[in-house]
Symmetry: D2
Subunit: 152 residues, 4 copies
Amino acid sequence: MKASYVGDYEQWVEGFQFHIEVRVRFSETDMFGHMNNTVSFTYFEQARIDYFRHLGVLMPAAIDENVKGIPIVADLQCDYVQQVFFDDVLRIYTKVAKIGNSSMDLHYLAKNQRDEVCFTGRGTIVQMDPQTGKSVPISEEDKLRLKSLAVN
Amino acid sequence: MKASYVGDYEQWVEGFQFHIEVRVRFSETDMFGHMNNTVSFTYFEQARIDYFRHLGVLMPAAIDENVKGIPIVADLQCDYVQQVFFDDVLRIYTKVAKIGNSSMDLHYLAKNQRDEVCFTGRGTIVQMDPQTGKSVPISEEDKLRLKSLAVN
Amino acid sequence: MKASYVGDYEQWVEGFQFHIEVRVRFSETDMFGHMNNTVSFTYFEQARIDYFRHLGVLMPAAIDENVKGIPIVADLQCDYVQQVFFDDVLRIYTKVAKIGNSSMDLHYLAKNQRDEVCFTGRGTIVQMDPQTGKSVPISEEDKLRLKSLAVN
Amino acid sequence: MKASYVGDYEQWVEGFQFHIEVRVRFSETDMFGHMNNTVSFTYFEQARIDYFRHLGVLMPAAIDENVKGIPIVADLQCDYVQQVFFDDVLRIYTKVAKIGNSSMDLHYLAKNQRDEVCFTGRGTIVQMDPQTGKSVPISEEDKLRLKSLAVN
């Protein structure tokens, strides 16, 4: 539980108010018998997109045609606390930890059906114009929605 | 070796004149200790695209901007003959088995480093206009290139 | 809807009494903008395993330690009827179409949120002893459970 | 190029003496048209395993039956510098940055066919006994081999 972005653990956990549920697929295991470590990032992606949909912000153009930018992953990080197995049911929590001008920091927490922490993570999302490759400021409207829920 | 599309096995194998090589990744295994059965279709896709590049036909728009249609998979099939393991080096053979007006039939054969048949497969590719969803006839030029190599 | 294993479509569809629901992940799309065609096989795998769990048959050893054999995929097939997109919610139906001594035939049907058929499929599962590589007869108990639900 | 683990960039790059080559698969792209960000971790895994094989250390039991522990990923991190596209040919460099008692720090660097940095990364590997879940000290022999090549 010592990842540097976590800080005070109790306080960090309390900040999460949104989660999705995933069941570990057979094809997501590897020959060591557990969930392959690349899979957690797929879960983070799903949680992030569902979170944005829930908030109504930063939706991909496929969903909202008015969007000028697309959310691009600038960096990603995962800390594995405990092995995850086939058929485990995970809750993937996510929250906005910091909002910048055209980027934001998201944190992630995965707990299994026994409420044990399996892995944690974080990553920066930048809103980018896919034509120019330049960053696009997050709208004030989106910022308000994000801030209303962002609890550090 | 009894998949219906194979017919006479010796003759079928002789028809292959192109292959790619793949090494089974750790993340492509599952908890049964072998290559997960969904992975063979990823290898087929890679072999098909490299084969088209080799022939200079049906390239995705990312490669050739003059293309009006994109190659769409209409059906896919895989017959598993022998287990495949982490680090096995597979040769994925592919050939055109039949050419239609706007579609073609591709066959696949996977052999490991001991020259053992691991799996075989087939699938139909249709050239489609992504805007209209309608099939696009394969150009005479592409057909000639395909026929020069297609051996049943 | 013309895949050979479907036969009479209305009758075929009526035979399905079990399904799972999946939402197409962002990472499961490809640069053509739709669900990559290799993904359907992952959904079939998930449907098959959940179906076996529902019936209480052929469970992987991770779930039921009394199992002597493991269910191995002998062949797989998918016919793509209609494009599938990010965020589509699919119902993946599965049923036992035929039961042999140590193998069985499963059929699959995928419908989207507008109740449109997106793809169909089938595949043979063989119960195999992972130590010897030989097929293991399906127990009479398992056969009874399977037959009580298998409707062709 | 500002990831904290990089430090002095020129010096950091010089430390890499091993790389693998991967070509971005079609199925590894997503609907944004580039390599999905979860894929870099698959490449890191492949580079790490090939690096260990090259050094003859920490091999999975499938390769070397004398191994008492298996290499477990404790954490993973990726910083995306530039978009990666279908068919790009990447060199994935890896090196040991630090060796502990039963763990080590690996760094990664991905460059494309134009020698542009696409992403960098790092992660901790712990040697673990899969039976007990406890860490297993890295053998002196393995340490020597690792140190002979580890250049910070």
